[in-house]
């Protein structure tokens, strides 16, 4: 399901005065807000879904697997999602 499919699905379930444009704007605001929070280094906790946080990765020396050459990999941050207990159980059971 893509973002536009999600917008369609949500629009179909909202009262009639919600236009697709309103739904699209809401969906974009939601993910924009979440992205902004992670960029600021904040955690996000969505009850029933899970939580997001930014993890720090230490610098390391990697290798180009083709040539064997050493490659310096600098310290970096990566977003990480932990699925909530309830959803985890529901997905596992399908």
């Amino acid at each position: 399901m893509t973002k536009s499919d999600l917008i369609e699905a949500v629009a179909a379930n909202m009262p009639e005065h919600w236009t697709k444009k309103d739904v699209e704007s809401a969906v974009n605001t939601i993910f924009g807000a979440m992205k902004h929070a992670l960029v600021s280094g904040d955690r996000i906790e969505i009850r029933g879904l899970g939580s997001f946080r930014v993890k720090e990765r230490r610098p390391r020396i990697g290798r180009n697997p083709k040539t064997g050459a050493r490659v310096d990999i600098p310290a970096r941050k990566v977003p990480h999602f932990t699925v909530g207990k309830h959803l985890k159980a529901r997905v596992e059971a399908t």
Partner: protein, 95 residues
């Protein structure tokens, strides 16, 4: 470090939408996350461009070990939900 919750997201949706109440803003935020969960529960993935993909992955059965007792245990085949952040999000976090 602050934690963003659904209430903070509702606040921003309310500020960005014209002509909808706080209650309606909360309703749509709830509906968006509900639709995402329902889709993932069927095993279908969710692709949000600019943010990332939520993917349900099938894990095979394997034999694990209780590290305390050394006892072998069978880990049943199961499905797990993973999040693969988009390159756009990864780059934004590192700049």
């Amino acid at each position: 470090m602050a934690t963003m919750t659904k209430a903070d997201i509702v606040e921003q949706v309310y500020d960005n939408l014209d002509g909808f109440s706080k209650k309606e803003s909360a309703d749509i935020v709830e509906m968006v996350f509900e639709s995402i969960k329902e889709t993932l529960e069927t095993g279908e993935k969710i692709k949000i461009s600019g943010f990332g993909n939520f993917v349900v992955r099938q894990k095979k059965e394997r034999t694990g070990r209780n590290p305390q007792t050394g006892e072998e245990i069978r880990i049943a085949p199961r499905k797990v939900l993973t999040f693969k952040p988009s390159q756009v999000l990864k780059n934004a976090i590192n700049t």
